[in-house]
Symmetry: D2
Subunit: 286 residues, 4 copies
């Protein structure tokens, strides 16, 4: 039962801050995070250039033992370049979202996209399924048709949807990607979670895993509910931006800010978030 | 961790067959079902007359110790008459869907509807939330505003949505109503499930509960997946109609048929279902 | 290009007020409404008993020359009884929504439902398609498969969806049912509209039709936008309930109130509506 | 009533073919297209590099008098560079989709994005609203809050949604972007359409406009339905890819192919399309 962090990408004045990135990774790994997912949604992957993604991968590989590298993009040449580059490092897998934005791709085109990625690399290829972001659902049936996938990060509120990959493809590793389903993912025996809360509350995720293992659902639920309380406040403010502030608030260090059009939170919103966080920190101390 | 069956309503030539109904209930209770949910969606509740619902309630009360009676309708006078009638029997709770069909009800109107039901009866009132059927989501926040609800059947693929009732209203009983989330509901510690598969595969649901209690997630998942296989075949044929055939196939007796416009399956579809069932029965024997 | 009013059903203390109903119909017919649609959504059709619907039909037939009678219900016997009863009157057509509430009906079951209605009556049968209310879209392709439909009221924000019935079934009468598409329906040459605003602003609908005929799109648009302004205010309050108040405000007489759970507006909401109406009445005078 | 073509971007072996691009533009302009929309969805805009978009703009400006340049991207620096570059040419407007992919942006962030674009350029800025592709609806109310927009391409099946921009912002130019609403857009008096069918059937769009002007709705509808027939066949195959084949089939020249992951159609799908096209060409000749 892995805890995987889709790590945040720190910017300062529009440039990557690789030192902050690596030191953030080291901190959360020390606190119990098993692996990092680089250039995912929390990491603003689709908003990064090829060169930026390469730099992130290199920095992540130096800071964590287990790295999954998200290489999805709207130009297949870029995707191929990225997965080939990943072979230089000891990465656990490359992953990709299906082609996003374009709403009328056929299933055949999506299957071909993933097959082309598999052909381009000797690394294990993971599906990153996130229908709300990409507008298409690459479900277990399509994953089976693709044939070469070794794992999936399924960002989906329906845990039965994630379990379906295990049902149709028992050898595939299956992770749920929703912060509100950490407890449920552990409890039903998925391979783990890829949850952005692992950036700012890794201790809580570790606590949930321990509680589930110990059969203490009461405690597991209390901890999960703390994450939900953060989400209730942070999501309406723009979650991708809020994660930077949440790291500062919970972990105590500065990981820079996102890059526009993912704008940093405005001061008013930072204050709202801070007020909520201090309540939750108190609940955590109990 | 209750297993509650939203019991099927047997018709013969458009009339209720109350004997088949009672004897079906006795059978599944004997096999481990804890309570029955009368006149729910599987029971074709919104398609029944007030008199039919009363007759069902009376028959159910004679056949099961624990009965929850769904009284939701589009005329509040009917709802009030039904919940008052329920007081004559030893029912555990009355339940109601929010007003369905009408898509532009305000939240205020929905809150008032449930408050009016609570005022009309001394029995505990449960919310039956089923957004796909009713077109509105009476979530934990609204349930809290209603204030008088003692339980919820949440037919929802998102188990975090069901858990949210426990988060905001810790004293409320919370059941998930999706056949594909039986394992997940037990594993995260909900109060149980109200699953229509309890009509035709009660043994499997009992098996999942035992496996979860024993910490044998492998086995729990294998059993859950058998339910999913039934759903994959049955849903495209018209699930409400298929349930009657599934009872015949798995439990070995005839519970009549639904009433048009919920048409009985045509022969061709019955054959498709039978073929799938015989494979699943084999898997069950292993 | 017909203007059809889905007439409101007036209640007083939970009982039908047939006099108010008939006199409301006479008023709007006098103002240019061509036909009435009885027991539709605005008329709270699915919330009425069989007897209530028969009484409404009788009253409507005495007050308007052209009547379409909506007979859809969740018990086919009731639907058949209603369409047979309609044969006693000089009605233009009977109509039906597909079976609502039940989310997992197969296309085959829906097709059979409409074929059964056609078989039960010598009257023309119209489809009343309203996906937001019923949860299923009986589109032009399915309508073609049904084979016996003579018309459609398509309550749908996508006018191309309504035009598709004319494309696949050129002899079918096609009406759009959205208040915000009155201008568009006339402008693209549909057979007309079934718009609930015809209850409270029949003069405006007549004005739009005249302006479109005269090629004065500027004026047609200005009038359509007045309807939209009403909708902006009325929809959040519960549109079905607001219609009763809008009739009072614009037409100057009392048509009673809806029946719970379609609750009458509370005073606070009535005031909000009144304020908006008086602005719009001023704009109308210009 | 403008006919604007969101022009296709021709690739050969993954590289832009600017000659084919310019000569395609010249052809459709000669046939009655009023303006071109460069690097939109049909033009695979979000899949192009900054340099590729600049090259397209230069070529388009040499081939058409009226050019709108879509500059939206997930890095604001790139967007600013593109709109500044556009000032070198005689372009009519720059346009942008809201930030796509990221599902949890706040309204405030979206408003700020468009304000930042307006601040960066002296050119008129148009909103390109396409909720199905971007996952967010920048409707008339938000457009009004942005304050600096001069036009909108609204790719939306609901024409009332497009009309709402004219209602709240009468000075804004409003175009609908759906191929199935060409007739409706002209008939209700929008400023025109931005329809990808203008790439392959410009004559038909010109014909619809003429028919609407002449009040011949019968003919306008017959022509619109021909477009719909193309869409019925082309959309399931992957519409963005099909457009290249449709240009070849209807206009008789080769504009290259898309770039993976927007894969060219496979031969089998090309054949399906060709069969449909030859029927439609016959209907056109009548």
């Amino acid at each position: 039962m892995d805890i995987i962090a889709p790590v945040v990408t720190p910017f300062r004045s529009g440039k990557l801050d690789l030192d902050a990135f690596a030191s953030h990774i080291r901190n959360i790994v020390r606190k119990g995070v098993d692996a990092v997912f680089v250039a995912g949604t929390t990491g603003l992957g689709p908003a990064l250039s090829v060169e930026e993604r390469k730099a992130l991968l290199e920095a992540a590989a130096s800071a964590a033992k287990r790295v999954i590298f998200q290489a999805g993009a709207l130009n297949l040449d870029d995707v191929v370049a990225l997965v080939k580059y990943a072979e230089r490092f000891d990465v656990e897998a490359v992953a990709s979202v299906p082609p996003y934005y374009f709403p009328r791709l056929s299933e055949r085109q999506i299957v071909r996209y993933f097959k082309d990625i598999c052909s381009a690399t000797s690394l294990p290829v993971y599906l990153y399924n996130y229908p709300t972001a990409t507008g298409k659902d690459v479900d277990a049936r399509i994953a089976k048709e693709i044939g070469c996938l070794k794992g999936v990060k399924d960002t989906n509120e329906d845990i039965a949807h994630t379990l379906a990959y295990k049902r149709l493809l028992p050898d595939m590793r299956a992770y749920n990607g929703s912060d509100s389903l950490v407890l449920a993912s552990f409890a039903v025996g998925l391979d783990g979670v890829v949850a952005s809360s692992a950036n700012y509350m890794p201790e809580v995720l570790v606590g949930i895993r321990e509680a589930v293992r110990a059969g203490d659902l009461e405690r597991a639920r209390r901890l999960q509910f703390l994450i939900n309380e953060v989400l209730d406040v942070a999501r309406p403010l723009g979650y991708s931006s809020a994660v930077y502030e949440l790291i500062k608030a919970f972990q105590g260090y500065d990981v820079g800010e996102p890059r526009p059009p993912i704008y940093p939170l405005e001061d008013e919103d930072k204050d709202k978030l801070a007020a909520a966080v201090s309540k939750i920190k108190e609940a955590l101390r109990l």
